[in-house]
């Protein structure tokens, strides 16, 4: 194709998105659109998969059967969300194996929040309430993104996600209304998860390199800073309601702008964790790669069984 023709196709493509038309897997698309989507969707899928690990830590130690079934269901949902997103990503012409390879080799990123440890039961509450809360804010706009398979996967994800946040907040309510030790445990979890949750909404607009293009493709509808403000404004009253304190001395209601002012985020910490120097980066990757490698014989056995069954069927047909 000549440069002129490609320019022409690109213009038509951008016009389709501007008209709110969806792009489907077999449609022509600019290489950059394909690459950006593979990057974002796979990162999203990897986050769901790695996100099971910090919570999996507490399944066997949940304080009651009610909490245990809820946590199990939540972790199972995350596996499901990872699978919806991987298969949506595969429609762009990358194989599941390549996607796993990118995660396991460290080439692809996942949300850096999952590199923090879950040291008490209250962390299950804080993760559901804050981490899933921030994730929902990030994800809801994606239900209208321009790439059809991604948008459809996100509709399903968002539908399932709201129970995650509610079960987390319920854990926090219970602890905050419990013994002084339980309340302290809840406060401690909030102290540790608050700032990483704010960072989850991404670098500041000034630092965010992909924002402009992503806005055009509706991969993003609001800037990181706007999303962060929304998250803070809706979460602070929820903390107040259960008598917990947001660990930010500069947090203050700003009557004039109708939202909260908040303190500086430690972006050095964010970039350190992104670059692999968080408290659990190595542990998470070891757990993930280990599970994949230890499962290899199972995958091979399943394939061998399927082939044998197929051969038997063909023989009988003769």
């Amino acid at each position: 194709m000549s440069e002129e023709q490609i320019k022409n196709l690109e213009a038509q493509f951008e016009a389709r998105i501007a008209r709110d038309e969806k792009i489907e897997a077999k449609d022509w698309m600019p290489e950059k659109y394909r690459k950006t989507h593979i990057r974002q969707m796979s990162q999203h899928a990897h986050s769901e998969i790695v996100g099971m690990l910090p919570e999996g830590n507490w399944i066997t130690r949940a304080p009651s059967l009610r909490r245990k079934v809820a946590l199990l269901a939540k972790v199972q949902d995350e596996a499901g969300h990872g699978l919806y997103l991987y298969s949506a990503c595969e429609t762009l012409g990358i194989s599941r194996d390549e996607l796993y390879e990118q995660l396991h080799s460290g080439k692809a990123k996942y949300s850096s929040i999952f590199n923090y440890p879950t040291v008490t039961w209250a962390d299950m509450g804080a993760i559901g309430w804050l981490v899933d809360g921030a994730a929902i804010i990030n994800q809801v706009p994606l239900c209208n993104t321009s790439y059809g398979p991604y948008a459809r996967a996100m509709v399903r994800v968002c539908k399932e996600e709201s129970f995650h946040q509610r079960q987390g907040y319920e854990i926090m309510i219970k602890l905050a209304n419990g013994t002084p030790e339980q309340k302290e445990m809840a406060q401690d979890a909030l102290n540790r998860w608050w700032w990483p949750s704010l960072m989850m909404l991404g670098p500041t607009d000034a630092e965010s390199i992909h924002t402009e293009q992503s806005m055009k493709w509706k991969l993003k509808r609001k800037s990181n800073d706007d999303l962060r403000q929304q998250f803070i404004d809706q979460t602070v009253p929820q903390a107040d309601l259960i008598g917990l304190t947001i660990p930010d001395p500069d947090l203050k209601w700003n009557e004039e702008k109708g939202s909260y002012d908040f303190g500086d985020i430690d972006w050095d910490e964010f970039w350190q964790v992104v670059k692999g120097h968080g408290p659990c980066n190595k542990e998470r990757m070891n757990a993930r790669v280990g599970a994949w490698e230890r499962g290899e014989w199972v995958r091979d056995a399943a394939m061998a069984h399927a082939e044998k069954q197929q051969q038997r069927k063909e023989k009988q047909a003769v």
């Binding site: 298969s87 290899e296 995958r299 399943a302 197929q310």
Partner: protein, 95 residues
């Protein structure tokens, strides 16, 4: 490294009797039985279905959107296939 990867399957779910099966997504599985079981766990964790079809993705033949012109345009100028094409006096009822 595994020698063979599990193939890709497309999943269709009937959400209740009376409705058609609709494409829900895809997944990897070693064979059809496993694809059905995985589809149950991945796509119907909240009673989304009463029936599931799985078909190996390689068995689907899809039209090419770049040929949508030849493929679909011939239907565009055949307005006489629609009831509104035909002029009837206002007095005619039940037609």
């Amino acid at each position: 490294m595994s020698t063979k990867n599990w193939p890709l399957w497309e999943v269709f779910v009937r959400s209740k009797n009376g409705l058609e099966h609709r494409h829900f997504g895809s997944l990897h599985a070693a064979d059809a039985d496993m694809a059905l079981e995985n589809a149950r766990d991945v796509y119907t964790r909240r009673n989304e279905g009463v029936s599931i079809w799985v078909v190996e993705s390689k068995n689907i033949t899809a039209s090419n959107p770049q040929h949508n012109g030849e493929m679909f345009e011939p239907a565009q100028d055949k307005v006489y296939r629609h009831p509104t094409f035909y002029e009837l006096p206002d007095e005619v009822k039940y037609m």
